[in-house]
Subunit: 486 residues, 2 copies
């Protein structure tokens, strides 16, 4: 499925990977054009093009008469581990009011959307997708409309299955349920395996919507700490499973929202075995899977699943078609139950939206779009990190996700993220305060910022303003007057 | 909003109304052209055109040298009242398996779709709607996509509110929530006002999806009998409300599924007052509202609602855009809660689907399409009734809905509708057996047949085959061999 990268693009990616991994350190000289040409067996022209691309993306910089060097990224660093959240208590969830006040702050298009859950729709191929929609609706047959409502669009299902195969998953023919976005998939998965009052293991911090869904379904959350680089703490989860009657586990395996953390393959395999042995279903929310910055797509936990205990949930909302509301789950042994729940809940996702995405996947150049999108998001991450280094207090810690469009900032403990949220809102800047990511409203000194929008002077000014608000919270007596800032 | 009928169409409707109401009886002579011309103050040419139209629609027939006569419709008649279902007991609901086996029987396009819940998509303006979609997707703005996801498409909302005004409802600005079809609206309404274990008053017989939703939400059904012509028995509901702690009431006020019954305005007003006085929320499922056969749209209960206790649910799925999955609720005092539940469940209906319907409502000629659709459905109802009169046992009783696309047949008590369902399925005919419309699986001698598909030789043969199966059940010894029937 994946469209082949051109040779210079491949080379650029190889070198970018080395920079990301620290093999090439900041300010280190990258191989000369002649050296690289020999080492990688490509023409000097190919090396030049690769280096120009890396320069455009801000990863290397030319120094006069001296060649190319790795550009320092100036990232503040996040400490290796968060203070683990006490996972002993099961918690009634009631985070919704707070979340809705954050979402409400985003309605005004003049607001700087650092608090948004979506990347900028302008990053998506809306025109091309629109043409796919135009073709698709002309082809809809009366019988097809009814058939697609119960079984889902068969062409779309075929494309999703093909993409799964690339990531090492071989879904059974009847394992796929196409849904109204991943949000419906996650809701249905959870309903299929729980009853009101049940305990569900979730991450801490967790995507706030998972907390809302638990609240709605009257489930109780048991929070398992997420390591900023390594994803959910599998040992801690295991200890919790030994101690409590957990009925399901809901995690984001790749580029976890809000931390951006990913499990490595060994932990994914271990998690999969752990849950299968105990027959605990796993809801794997993997909506950022396509938004990786490296050359290799991260594997889903589902790719280790032999016994059908993993319900893998994906979506086109974050990678291709925002607002179309088409997602899915490959739900293993629970697919039949989920399919029936769907018929009782919404019947079907929009049939034209499914057909349009199927047409785009066939003809639109999805892999090319994804490569471009990934580079945009990585560039924007770099810009936000650089601005944070310039404007935020030196004691700030920040996550370093290798994909997605969220950064997680941890400030000194005396910072009050909810206060920061209100102060920023007054300046026309939205952000997602830490407490909305926890059933126990922890993370009061943390915020999640979205870098999914093109970086511009307004973004830069917003970071500067946030920096001032932070300084004011840390040193109230020395606060500059903020009234004049616009 | 409604496009004006031409004069001859108005006249035809007036006369059709008199035939429906029995003012003009079967075989009675309709006024001569001269008489009608004088009585209605129109030209003879207008009368001729009106009579041709009525003749085309099978309502009147010419007799040589004698003028036009009301054509006998040959309907068997349904007794005035069903035996009321004992509404004393609250019932755990478990009807789903049966429903899914009925839905499963519809997958094969070769099946005669008498069991379907949908009208034929070929009756809808799919081409014109497709062009609206093509225009709408080209106009989608990046910011609009995100805004429409939370608030709904504002143009679509405006059109829905305008249509409400015509039916006597003045929704408040923030009262409307656009949803993934009426099915999601109904689910969310019910969730907004109940907790697991609560009692909900529903109709008997009831739309099976309402039973499934109650089952899914772990609610208990209290069944209130529906009068075949007059809709839910308001006195019986009142007695139940006095006796049991009912938390919500879910009814179809117009062309109730499966009976086709409608409440009259007096009962609508009475029901509204009754529930408001007790502060019991009403979920009004009104998805067939546009499919009336007469000249006047039926009023929703919502039009009598002063205090915001009625959640009125509608949809474009049955009248315009099957598979687009766009519905709504005007939810009175519960709109805010429902809007939030929606954000936690599916976030939003498909944004392009909303935009396409908004465009169609602006430019597509919705009222013209609806008039055509209503005539089709009425013609097809007449054809099915005529076939039933020809082939079904003389003791058959049938409902006489003035809208929608379902007929409810009540056979002698020894008929087993589930057996009939299986036997018919073996002959490639689907039907909806009575027991799927009841939490207590009553109505074992009843079936619902769908006349929402163009009537053809295959429909006629299917009715003949059903007639034979019924005769066989009634007189087993005289049964013809059915093996040869195809």
């Amino acid at each position: 499925m994946a469209q082949k990268l051109k040779r210079y693009e491949q080379l650029a990616e190889q070198i970018a990977d080395m920079i990301r991994a620290g093999v090439l350190a900041a300010n280190e000289r990258v191989p000369s054009v002649r050296q690289a040409s020999e080492r990688y067996g490509v023409s000097p022209a190919t090396v030049f093009r690769a280096y120009y691309l890396l320069e455009d993306r801000g990863l290397i910089q030319a120094r006069e008469r001296s060649g190319y060097y790795v550009r320092p990224q100036g990232r503040p660093r996040l400490a290796k581990a968060h203070p683990p959240v006490a996972s002993g208590a099961a918690t009634e969830v009631a985070v919704s009011e707070l979340v809705f006040s954050v979402l409400g702050s985003l309605r005004d298009p003049a607001t700087v959307p650092f608090g948004s859950a979506f990347p900028a729709p302008g990053l998506f191929p809306l025109g091309r997708l629109g043409r796919s929609m135009g073709r698709a609706v002309q082809r809809l047959s009366p019988h097809g409309i009814i058939a697609d409502m119960t079984a889902g669009n068969p062409e779309l299902a075929r494309h999703i299955v093909q993409r799964y195969r690339v990531s090492g998953v071989e879904p059974a023919a009847d394992e796929l349920v196409i849904t109204n976005g991943a949000m419906e998939a996650l809701n249905l998965c959870l309903q299929a395996v729980t009853q009101p009052g049940d305990l569900v293991a979730i991450e801490s911090p967790a995507f706030y919507a998972s907390l809302q869904v638990l609240e709605r379904l009257k489930l109780r959350a048991v929070e398992i700490p997420v390591r900023p680089r390594g994803g959910i703490d599998v040992a801690s989860l295991e200890a919790t499973l030994d101690r409590l009657p957990i009925k399901a586990c809901w995690i984001m395996s790749n580029f976890q929202n809000p931390l951006g953390a990913s499990l490595d393959d060994a932990d994914k395999a271990r998690l999969c075995t752990l849950l299968a042995n105990r027959q605990v279903p796993l809801i794997e929310d993997d909506v950022y899977a396509e938004l990786y910055f490296g050359t290799v797509a991260p594997r889903p936990v589902k790719s280790f699943d032999q016994a059908g205990w993993v319900m893998h949930c994906g979506s086109f909302s974050k990678s291709l078609a925002p607002g179309y509301r088409v997602g899915w789950t490959a739900a293993g042994r629970f697919a039949g139950a989920i399919s029936r729940l769907k018929l009782m809940t919404t019947i079907s996702p929009s049939v034209p939206a499914q057909a349009a995405i199927a047409d785009y996947l066939q003809y639109g150049g999805y892999d090319r779009h994804l490569r471009k999108l990934r580079h945009c998001l990585e560039d924007q991450q770099r810009a936000m990190l650089a601005a944070a280094a310039r404007y935020f207090p030196a004691t700030t810690r920040v996550s370093q996700p290798q994909g997605g469009y969220f950064l997680w900032f941890e400030f000194p403990r005396q910072v009050d993220a909810l206060r920061l949220f209100r102060q920023a809102a007054a300046l026309g800047i939205s952000l997602a305060p830490g407490p909305i990511f926890s059933a126990t409203q922890g993370f009061s000194h943390c915020v999640r910022l979205n870098h999914g929008h093109p970086w511009d002077a307004r973004s830069e000014a917003a970071m500067e303003n946030l920096g001032r608000l932070l300084e004011e919270q840390l040193e109230p007596s020395m606060a500059p007057t903020l009234g004049a800032v616009t």
